[in-house]
Symmetry: C2
Subunit: 378 residues, 2 copies
Amino acid sequence: MRFTIQRDKLITSVQDVMKAISSRTAIPILTGMKIEAKQHGITLTGSDSDISIESFIPTEKNGEIYVENIEEGSIVIHARYFPDIIRKLPENTVQIEVDEQLQVTIRSGKAEFSLNGQDADEYPLLPQVETDNSFQMPTDLLKYMIKQTVFAVSSMETRPILTGVKFTLEKGKLNFTATDSHRLASRDVPIDAGELEFSNVVVPGKSLNELNKILDDTEEMVEISVTENQILFKTEHLNFLSRLLDGNYPETSRLIPTQSKTTIFTKTKELIQAIDRAALLAKEDRNNVVRLTTLDNNMIEIMSNSPEIGHVTEEVPIQSMEGEELKISFSSKYVLEGLRAIHADEVKIEFTGAMRPFIIKPINGDEILQLILPVRTY
Amino acid sequence: MRFTIQRDKLITSVQDVMKAISSRTAIPILTGMKIEAKQHGITLTGSDSDISIESFIPTEKNGEIYVENIEEGSIVIHARYFPDIIRKLPENTVQIEVDEQLQVTIRSGKAEFSLNGQDADEYPLLPQVETDNSFQMPTDLLKYMIKQTVFAVSSMETRPILTGVKFTLEKGKLNFTATDSHRLASRDVPIDAGELEFSNVVVPGKSLNELNKILDDTEEMVEISVTENQILFKTEHLNFLSRLLDGNYPETSRLIPTQSKTTIFTKTKELIQAIDRAALLAKEDRNNVVRLTTLDNNMIEIMSNSPEIGHVTEEVPIQSMEGEELKISFSSKYVLEGLRAIHADEVKIEFTGAMRPFIIKPINGDEILQLILPVRTY
């Protein structure tokens, strides 16, 4: 194997692929990165067996030469050293060459590294994903949907299925839902996916967080393909493959109240700042509990009390209010994360009493919903 | 106690004083911050008993009012919560008020915090430093001298005196010296200090690192006062007090070779980059060992070998060379830190053989010196 490559292109690909590589893995060769040279370009592969990432660097693009002097072949290289080496090389091009003893020579300017490689035949084959069950959506929209839901997945391994985000595609509508059983985030988007429908596709939250880091914020399309136990996200030069979580995701639609007794309409930013301040004293508490009380004259009071440290109260003006008076306590962390994920200047919050879940939505629109269970304080 | 204060001024002072406050301290009240209001301004104090910092906010400066409505008094407040509270308050002014039960009320806009305070009479009195033994120097020069030496202090508590930087003032010359017994950094500066002279003043490296973070990069003067066991750094609104280390600092001047057998003149940046690359493979090793070999034609070779991972070699052009051929191994970490601390475009490196300490200096000038012991590799 041999090729000469533009260093900046290699750096970007290596950084993407590294996101799948863990130094702690049961399969030692997966601590390495696979490099495969073909006449049409270079493919880098990293995997921790849950997530696999392939990045392709074409020989040329729009007339600009990315890779030259290709002699086909493949190798697995130490992923611990390779990224730093490439990053610190002195020149804009890098020559990589492998000899018959699997010694990898990396040359740039007058610097020459020689690394012990491993046989690429020992690297596991990635699962092949049939792309019949696939649909497309803009990359930036996918990133947005991930950010608006993934924070609500459970971090507890006691119910593994809740550590994932449930994807549903039904009647031309794609839904992401995440819950840790104390709060729930849900986001709908209309999608043109032809006849394709699926449900109970549960993608690990960790995979989605990594995917979100790798994908650029562009309007270019990402192709999503779903099988029994894998999901593939495919952009022009990147394949991101994740296993799905086993098991049945709980039915969540019946959790969502359909009527409300008290509705508050408020500017999002002012409410976030007031709860954020109240949470300063609540942080000692397991639940970061903050209390909201409706007042007259379109005001609410946000309050927190920590007997050993002190207490905080703040009156916050709201836009308007409908329904009954209310006094309710909740986790400031959950409400802040929900309010921030809404990404709307104004929100409505629908309560059904102090002991019932409440929901936060944009003031106009039902495409995103944040549901939060209150905390019992007496 | 009561006053109303510009929030941005309070934030800056609180951040400075926090650098002396530790949550782990044998004296519980030192986890708090002392606030003292006098008619001419507000003084904040933090201390971990090794370092004490006082920051003063005057009532007004250049006609701008910083503090108003002052009722004199003092209190000690939870340092864990106070900085975040001040930072997140909604308005540009803050009102702080203490009642007879030591309850501290912090108001800004419609937000009101109430914190449990502690009696300021229980806060330890800071040592008073006689300012007879004092001299002045520009703040930016002091910061520079700290940065050029403090990295070389020992991190091992086996010889506590080596965890400090030795200050010497003799014959109108201020010297900072630090060594961990594997390398040594030394910096001289001419100072107009009148009759004042001292030696064996050893300031903890930790204190100097904190001081460096707090001081602004200005040409304004800092006043330095030295006593038996304390050193005080005083700027217009800040008192930074540190204890000195007990014991006699070792005599280091005889370590410094006075003649050399091989001298290399080189551009600093190119050498740093080559050693930095070679160090990538050396990082597994306890000593990060890199080997330098002189070649013909004004070239040197930088090499590192890690049998399990691979090896790296690089030929680096130098400006010129005098004296014998040389092959020497050294800690890449020490040499990189030394080269970076020099802050000169070109350096000379003076060797006295493969087993003897070598020194790095700017190509013109003796005011800074980095000495490094080589590593025996055979």
